[in-house]
Symmetry: C2
């Protein structure tokens, strides 16, 4: 059995490219159909209703383009709208980023104290706390919204005084609470790994969901016998769709993806607006 | 002659409340119909096409609600979409925030060197440079995108180390260029007045467009004989419409408005989405 259809990856903008990168690292022959809703980004401070509305429009668009699996690469969407997305896309497997990240953290914490940082919307749902405590109910979880990290990354300020100052502002509280493990609960944050590690010190392990999500995607495709038989480079055959401002996308790609995207296209996912 | 219809104020979110506040200070009997498109905020990093699309939807909504004048309180919309808005709203007077701010700066600069800070979209259009040089062609204008100031204000971080660090990051360059006057070309920035003044020193005058825009609105209403004859408090009779997350709005109002809003409502401006 083989399935040459692309893996769909949904994100509110560019952050999900960190997940696409890990997908290509683990499964170099799989191709991706990426959709970034940058006309509505960032999602992280919006209401649940609005996040659900925007992300369902995108999911319908991706499903209409014959994907074999959907990875919801955005922590905010995974926290707020995964159930609705699963209901809308009942025939294909769906993976969010929350559960893979939560599982990895549970395996690593010795003190049974895990910190989670993310956007307002992600933290407000307590999705990570629920996911972690469904595996280990005796684990204490401390969540902290750290919204400034998104625009800092978007502006390319990954190693500046202002970034270190923001890291101190958000993270000292989690250090004081004694966590030994911290989930970077937003795909942008992995680009701040060095500044964050420099701020919290080496006693706290940082966990980035991107790698664990790609691994789970690989496991599911294998189990369902949906792995491609193609020997071409999936990276070269992938398509990247955005709902706004393609010039901006191309300028920022290097940061999130570590290279150029093979094909960037503008799309209108909600017909007429 | 008297006209008791409200003044429409359009903004991408909450920043325009700083303009509403100045309107009530100058014209306490005028009432306002405020529309903040926070479902799509922030506008500042979007493409011109998308900013025009979102703002025209809002303008059509406001015009459909019988306003006597429209103040475009958002620098980004004023820079990118004012012509389109004037074409769409041909029967009522329109004021943006760019020209009033530019006029005030031209009156003040002795060195004929003006700095402008704003969002990416505002700075990209060079709207302030064009407005200033149409009045004084020998004035040099230095524009600098300072996008982090918006999320800092949105997070309520108006007087923190991270804010001072961002101010240094953006403003040292303008100080070195020798400007003697700086336009705060985004309605959020007036809330950072103290930190910005502390960073640039007292030799540089800061100009906030909100007051000058309200003054221009007053002059136009007077000239066109559209001033209300009502003696009621306009502030108490005003309505504030938002396209997303009213809870968030109510939490943040104090910062932008200095008090509670009389009536906050959710509206769907683009029918069905």
């Amino acid at each position: 059995m083989s399935d040459t259809r692309p893996i769909g990856i949904l994100d509110s903008g560019l952050g999900g490219l960190t997940v696409a990168r890990e997908v290509f690292r683990l499964m170099p022959h799989e191709k991706v159909l990426y959709l970034g809703d940058n006309a509505h980004a960032p999602y992280g401070h919006r209401s649940e209703k609005t996040i659900q509305k925007y992300s369902l429009q995108c999911v319908k668009y991706l499903i209409g383009h014959d994907i074999k699996m959907l990875i919801v690469a955005c922590n905010t969407i995974s926290s707020v709208a995964l159930e609705q997305i699963e209901a809308a896309a009942k025939d294909i497997p769906i993976i969010g980023v929350v559960l893979p990240g939560a599982r990895a953290a549970v395996l690593r914490t010795a003190e049974k104290k895990i910190g989670v940082i993310g956007t307002h919307a992600t933290i407000r749902t307590c999705a990570y706390t629920r996911a972690i405590q469904s595996i280990g109910s005796d684990i204490r979880v401390f969540e902290k919204a750290s919204p400034l990290f998104v625009p800092l990354v978007e502006e390319g300020l990954v190693d500046r005084d202002v970034t270190r100052s923001a890291a101190q502002h958000y993270l000292y509280e989690l250090i004081d609470l004694g966590v030994d493990c911290m989930i970077l609960g937003c795909s942008h944050y992995s680009l701040l790994m060095e500044v964050i590690q420099g701020t919290v010190g080496t006693r706290i392990q940082l966990l980035d969901s991107a790698l664990w999500t790609a691994k789970e995607a690989q496991d599911i495709l294998t189990a369902l016998k949906l792995v491609t038989s193609s020997k071409n480079s999936g990276r070269d055959e992938s398509r990247y769709l955005f709902t706004d401002n393609i010039d901006e996308v191309e300028r920022r790609t290097l940061l999130f993806f570590g290279g150029r995207l093979s094909s960037v296209e503008y799309v209108n996912v909600n017909g007429g607006l």
